[in-house]
Amino acid sequence: MTATRRILWRIFLIVALLGFWQFVPTSRATQFWLSRPSQIAAALWRWLEDGSLWGHLGATLLVMVAGYVIGCISGIGVGFLLGLLPRLHRVVSPYLAAVYALPKIALAPLFIIMLGIGFAPKITLVAVTVFFLVLNSTVDGVRDVDRDQIQSLVLMGASRGEIIRKLLVWASMPWIFTSMRIAVRYAFTNTLLAELFAANRGLGFLIQYSSGNFDATGTYAAITVLILCSVLLTEVLSRLENQMARWKV
């Protein structure tokens, strides 16, 4: 009962907001930057019909996913290496900390100089961002493993490889997953920032391009797609988390 009522209220709220936006009396000048829901819907429909939306969406997802996967794999790999070689880690940790603290978007112009304005610099930016997030958590996870657990396996006769496979990999998994979850949002944000910077495709480019042409309707339409993407992403993430909750103690 209350749940139904809550949903009804939600629908009412969004309809009221959109209705107000649609029918609020405005001057022509205001109209120019405010646009209207009906116009935004029409623009979206147009992009869907001519297929241009899929191209932009695909470009954004490609950058995000490719950067994310590369960043995760290399972050976990190097993280394990540094976690298992504490002396090496002690040597390089101040440098890692310095780069970790740097907002990676500051490197975007550099990547553009080096790699042009195609997918490569954007994927690099996202990968680097994700890499440092996942790297730090992996190192912490490997180093946080209970010494007593290691010793009990050693006394049973476990080799170094077996301790890694049967203990370290599993024990550090919650740390790695946590950082991977956080990294999804960073990957999304950085993909968009990179596309706002310099691009000829992608949702970020669509926003930039539309506003550059003083096309408020197009800007709102692109932002709408972005909101839908974020909602979808959050939903998928929270479901994955519920799946993993069982053995996380």
Partner: protein
């Protein structure tokens, strides 16, 4: 009988010694302070003997176990296992610590099996499954095989930990207050199981406890330690016949006398203000 004397006697008698502490001592330095955890100690444990170490906290009992397990190197003296000095992890012992070291992502059965998965003890899958099933039956965990440690009670986790140390049948078992935090009835049940398992498998056991009753119930010999710095105060043989009835032996006269004698020996340390 003092520790040194008993060690000397045992060696002279030509008895086969499993573990020998020969003037073994351990010092730690913490924040510039030298702490003597264990003064030079002589103690010999015969094959298949069940020896209990009792004494107040910080008396070096756990240090003795860590030395025997090879997790610590003595700062002076030597520790022999089967007559050979212990250097590095001693893989012929099973070690069950106060804190259970079960892996939270493995079910009870998978935790118990882990030793059989290791290359050095590689066991065919079917045989491993059978031995795990036997072990689960033995420690009374039937019905909880697929539960994760977080889903088990403290007592059940102890059972899993015990089954895990016993499944690969180490010839020596080192136990550091394994049942410390359990309620009295459950403790008795587990002590009974421990007695049967270690006797049937002819294990040598070194058992650290705070609880004099536990020590008298299970041990062949009881080594009493005094605190700070840790040293052996005395060694007592427990002249109670085996097998012992874990649930009733505490009401026997011999048990009472033994308990009183040990208590008298320990109470000086209690008066000093250390906890037993």
């Amino acid at each position: 009988m003092a520790g040194a004397a008993s060690a000397a006697l045992a060696t002279q008698g030509g008895l086969k010694m499993k573990i020998e502490f020969l003037g073994a001592a351990k010092r730690f330095s913490a924040r510039g302070n030298e702490i003597e955890a264990l003064t030079p100690t002589d103690l010999s444990i015969a094959r298949e003997e069940f020896v209990a170490l009792v004494g107040p906290s910080g008396c070096g009992k756990s240090t003795m176990l860590n030395l025997a397990a090879g997790l610590l190197e003595p700062s002076a003296g030597t520790v022999l296992y089967d007559g050979v000095p212990v250097h590095g992890p001693n893989r012929r012992v099973g070690y069950m610590t106060q804190k259970d070291t079960l892996l939270p992502w493995r079910s009870a059965a998978d935790n118990i099996r882990i030793a059989l998965e290791l290359r050095c003890r590689a066991t065919p899958r079917a045989e491993a499954a059978e031995r795990v099933a036997q072990m689960i039956d033995l420690v009374g965990l039937t019905g909880f095989e697929s539960h994760f440690p977080a889903e088990l009670s403290g007592g059940m986790r102890k059972r899993v930990a015990m089954a895990r140390s016993l499944i690969y049948e180490p010839e020596t078992l080192l136990l550091d207050e394994p049942f410390g935090a359990l309620d009295a009835q459950l403790k008795l049940l587990l002590l009974d199981e421990l007695q049967q398992l270690t006797r049937n498998r002819r294990m040598t056991v070194l058992f650290v406890t705070h609880d004099l009753g536990e020590a008298i119930t299970l041990a062949d010999r009881i080594v009493v330690f005094s605190a700070r710095p840790g040293r052996v105060r005395g060694v007592h043989s427990v002249a109670l016949p085996r097998p012992r009835d874990v649930f009733r032996i505490r009401f026997s006269e011999a048990f009472g006398r033994m308990h009183e004698a040990l208590w008298d020996e320990l109470k000086d340390d209690i008066v000093k203000g250390t906890d037993v």
